[in-house]
Symmetry: D2
Subunit: 180 residues, 4 copies
């Protein structure tokens, strides 16, 4: 058990055992970001979807997402995960206010709620983040695809979004007035 | 350590040791509610502030708040904590959308950020909740005071709000158009 | 021409000629309300759609809507139009904050934008309003239908919504987390 | 009376007489923007306030604001007024969603509501807009001052904001989490 008093060389990071144990005790707080390219008037032109290996081994599409670490402000967590998933030259423009466009709830059992995460009960603060630079997906992401709202809303793409996130995409595009 | 496979008779509830350990590992997710009385046009007439014993033993004012338990939907957590703090006949009207008016971040060290919680790193989804019935504070709350926005914004009251929540009150009233 | 100095017996109301002239000069401000029935946790159970004669003579579905009159606060306009369209015993619960879930823009030419109003350039502040009483549509509304979100999102219903308001309905339900 | 059928060489622009007459008939729709400079995490560092001659001849501070013209989309009106007030090299980043942080209501009589506009009943959709370039106020604005949130919230500055817009500034900063 980590002591709260001894400085942690990797604060916020947990061992696999600790993370598993924690996941059985409390909902885990995430930030999630839908990357977008905007025109000069702020209208969404494209939505960025990551292609990555899912927990089942199959390929799946997803958004930028990651845990908020212990002691980490939400804005820092958002920027850290954007850099992790989009690379160092994406130049994401974090929103001026911290209010998410929705709060996404993921429960472990598929089918109970529209969105699920078989690993855990997770609660994600979901943001739309404008990206102005070049994206270079790192880590486990294989590719970042930029799609128009119409392309992104196609049934095939919605189906490929991991954990029921097709609903989250529709919520993001509805919020942006880009549903159709 | 609780097993994730054995059904838990009190799901979500943790022993003191487990809670303390978890608090050292991840930010703890809370819901927080500012109770209000509205007139027939939806304008805020009064804000409800709880008076309770603070963690230091002194009296302090606060809002309705509590943890989101493992496996518990946000709306259920919000209603459970409203009933816990306001009693069974308050008849809170939960908002139709789950987007909070702000996300409040509490860090353990006072002074680093406007709001703090010496016990933990907590992140609270903050809502305004209209209350139409009779409130009967339970548990550790001594009293519920209904104040007009002007009264609530007095320096004395703002100072009595626990953990720097005077800022949260001002944010809530700004959101409601009741600052000036 | 009405003088701004002589008290107007029907403030805000304009003759047909004045209204037509004004519509050619400035965008006309509207409020629009999507009536909903909520369960005890605030989740939407049903959406209310008005059936009325459209401007073309055909039957069409719509939401509660109407102009904001000169000198009239937005909340008053919202309540007045709710009473006009839902009757005196609907008991609408106006939201505590005046921020709309979206701003709907209607231009005169169909096809240019998703939503249109052949009479005018209109800008509507769009709200979700919980209704707890009995609705008794008045004036030109023939009927109020309560539909589940799933029913309301059927292609047939979306198509029947006047002026492209199927988009507005999807935005409202996305905002409420009731899309999926 | 302008015909709606003859193309207007200056669509949306009205003669003084037409504007005065229209102002006596309907609320006039405005967009209003609080310019901000953000740090790399999206936190507000400075707020931009315009200094200009007020309607009474005295100097007064204000935000970017202007009418939405007939036939003009809100985003276009916002960009046009930002360029008018901040010059062509301000590079404002329009928000991805069109939902304002508040709707500001201005009535002609001071004292009735916190905000007023002696010329008219105006309703303004109010946005926070990040500005990344160099500002060069044009037209009737004498100067643009960049102030920290603390400086901007000083009683002297709040008092200098025209038409009671000190309330609007507090609402904007509350929305950004920059009140305390």
């Amino acid at each position: 058990m980590p002591s709260v008093r001894t400085p942690d060389p990797n604060p916020g990071w947990l061992s696999e055992f600790q993370l598993e144990e924690t996941r059985s005790r409390v909902p885990i707080l995430y930030v999630e970001a839908v990357p977008v390219r905007l025109d000069s008037l702020g209208q969404v032109e494209q939505v960025g979807l990551l292609l990555r290996g899912s927990t089942t081994g199959a390929l799946a599409r997803s958004f930028v997402s990651g845990r908020v670490l212990h002691g980490e402000p939400i804005r820092t967590a958002l920027m850290r995960n954007l850099e992790k998933d989009l690379g160092p030259t994406a130049f994401p423009q974090l929103p001026a206010d911290i209010v998410p466009f929705t709060v996404a709830e993921y429960f472990p059992l598929p089918g109970v709620t529209p969105m699920y995460d078989t690993r855990q009960h997770a609660v994600a603060l979901a943001y739309v983040v404008a990206v102005t630079g070049e994206c270079d997906p790192r880590q486990d992401a294989l590719e970042l695809s930029w799609l128009t709202p119409e392309e992104a809303l196609s049934p095939a793409i919605l189906e490929e979004l991991e954990g029921g996130r097709g609903v989250l995409l529709k919520q993001a595009l509805a919020h942006l007035g880009a549903l159709g």
